[in-house]
């Protein structure tokens, strides 16, 4: 079986972890593997699509593996279609046996796990980040895949970081720290303490190196808290209409743990939550530990400990 892995470098010129994971996924199928590195670091759909489609066609590969990066997701579906290939994305598991190749992916946003196969070839499989252990960089040889800058109507102007004052989304962090709307709700004294909440959260992120996630309700907070929470946006949102990050541990605070939020925790290993309500969603088998307590107080003690 001929297998083609198509990866690309990051803006720093190195092969990112996602690329090495995709190569590992391709290696796990045990066929005759070739690896191509898509060139360029100013990705434009109308330039990448013909390059990808050409590589798929000319390789004669039955299976094509690529990482689920933003660049691949922007262009690979169209490229697969142009190359006469089938495509499945968000692949979290792969196997190859006498019955052929099977792949796993989730439907309904991490709710139903599907195992599927296809008769048609080529079959492009775009793998999710974190689903495969990265391949050793010296375990394969790669050929460049040029994406010649044609006269395109679209011009890539560069990368902007979403939050001006802090980089809060850290995919490689060991801990995901989730803040919920409770941080901006009236507390026991009848008042809202959003400035204190924002300061406590930022202090924790600095001290722990955690990645910051949010519930939908918090990022859609009312105007009175907006000024204090400028470091958060929909980009931080975890759940049904947000992200599904992968981290070994997750700590939820002031978040109720409702199902549309918790589906975004599918790939979080150990889960702990701090909530005033002993009957919140986390208590229903969604967290390993639920601390029934005031998160303002717990987090300020925790910040003190972490800062030594």
């Amino acid at each position: 079986m001929k297998i083609l892995a198509i990866v690309h470098k990051d803006s720093g010129g190195a092969l990112p972890k996602a690329a090495l994971e995709a190569v590992a996924a391709a290696q796990s199928l045990g066929g005759e593997l070739s690896v191509r590195i898509l060139s360029g670091d100013a990705p434009v759909h109308s330039i990448d699509v013909p390059a990808l489609a050409g590589a798929i066609k000319s390789s004669g590969a039955e299976i094509v593996i690529a990482p689920g990066t933003s660049r691949i997701m922007r262009s690979m579906p169209a490229a697969a279609m142009r190359a006469g290939a089938e495509i499945d994305t968000h692949i979290t598991g792969l196997s190859s046996g006498p019955g052929g190749v099977t792949a796993q992916r989730w439907a309904y946003r991490q709710r139903i796990l599907c195992t599927l196969a296809r008769d048609a070839r080529p079959w492009v499989l775009v793998v999710d980040g974190g689903a495969f252990a990265p391949a050793a960089p010296d375990s394969f040889q790669a050929e460049p895949l040029p994406a010649p800058a044609a006269a395109a109507r679209t011009e890539c102007l560069g990368v902007q970081t979403a939050a001006a004052d802090a980089q809060t989304i850290r995919p490689d962090a060991k801990l995901l720290f989730v803040a919920g709307a409770g941080w901006t709700k009236k507390q026991a004294d009848g008042a809202v303490h959003s400035a204190e909440a924002a300061a406590t959260i930022k202090e924790f992120l600095a001290a722990s190196g955690a990645s910051l996630g949010s519930s939908k309700s918090l990022v859609e907070m009312g105007d009175e808290s907006k000024a204090d929470f400028g470091f958060m946006s929909h980009m931080n949102q975890v759940g049904q209409t947000g992200a599904t990050p992968r981290h070994p541990k997750g700590l939820s605070t002031c978040c109720h743990g409702e199902e549309p939020h918790v589906v975004g925790w599918r790939f979080i290993g150990e889960r702990r939550a701090v909530n005033l309500d002993a009957n919140c969603g986390w208590a229903q088998g969604k967290a390993d530990v639920l601390y029934v307590a005031d998160a303002f107080k717990v987090m300020s003690h925790l910040n003190r400990i972490l800062k030594g």
Binding site: R74, C114, D119, T154, Q160, P171, H301
Partner: protein
């Protein structure tokens, strides 16, 4: 004055996310238990696309918004009762499947066919909108397939901001890794946008808008053609809900300080 835009929004229904979903096998392949009975909502990212479309159309006099939906006609009718009061649009409906196991290529082909059949459509004024990914299949491929079918070469995925500078040129911000955005400039239409959340809140219900939309919507539903059955596609070997329930330890009597100590030790592990 900038020229009017023809904004075509692809979006359909998904089960209300508060519902419990259970897969069942049917002779046609996997489906959801009681799928016909499950309350549905407009697919959330497609809904963002619709609100952005209505907002953009309002800023360009003469612009039109068309929602193109493939789904079971009876369920689309129910859904439209809740969508019609949110924004001014006309509907093009296709009677077909709208679930997490439906084939994306067939869905895109059905949508593209319906779009091509819109009378007098001038592609040089078309902005194709949709969600960056559905809450059902969650593949993030359908909009690109539709764009390919329509010959649209400019495609942007997971967009949070679209700004027109002049007549036909615009800049977009696409979500990329690590919470950053990729900024691009595009000269000219047609173009296709897979929306992420955007920046607009869900509009409040406007009963007058609903009343103006509804007759056109009912007419579109009445003449909705049936989608061609999907050929080929994925073979689902298994669909399951893996057991994910944890034995939650509920700590009610620890002091905040004790909890903080335990958490610090856990984080350091």
């Amino acid at each position: 004055m900038p020229k009017p835009l023809n904004i075509i929004v692809c979006g359909s229904l998904v089960p209300d996310p508060l519902q419990t979903l259970e897969p069942v096998e049917t002779p046609q392949g996997p489906a959801l238990k009681n799928e016909q009975m499950l309350p549905a909502v407009l697919d959330p990212w497609a809904a963002c696309a619709l609100y952005e479309a209505a907002h953009l159309a309002a800023s360009r006099p003469g612009s039109q918004v068309t929602l193109v939906s493939m789904g079971p006609a009876a369920k689309l009718r129910q859904l439209m009762m809740t969508v019609a009061p949110k924004a001014t649009f006309s509907l093009v409906a296709v009677n077909g499947p709208a679930g997490g196991f439906a084939d994306a290529r067939a869905t895109a082909a059905g949508l593209a066919k319906a779009i091509k059949a819109i009378p007098g459509l001038d592609m040089s004024s078309v902005l194709l909108f949709g969600g960056c990914s559905s809450a059902s299949r969650d593949a993030g491929v359908t909009m690109q397939f539709v764009a390919e079918e329509l010959g649209i070469q400019e495609f942007f995925q997971a967009v949070d901001e679209l700004k027109f500078d002049g007549d036909d040129s615009f800049t977009v911000l696409e979500r990329i890794e690590g919470g950053s955005y990729l900024k691009s400039a595009c000269k000219g239409l047609p173009a296709a946008i897979g929306w992420a959340t955007g920046s607009l809140p869900e509009p409040p219900n406007n009963p007058r808008t609903g009343m103006m939309n509804m007759p056109k919507i009912m007419a579109a539903l009445a003449k909705a053609p049936a989608a061609a059955p999907a050929a080929g596609g994925a073979k689902f070997l298994k669909t399951e809900i893996p057991a994910s329930k944890r034995q939650t330890r509920i700590e009610k009597d620890m002091t905040e300080e004790e909890i903080a100590k335990e958490l610090a030790a856990w984080i350091a592990e």
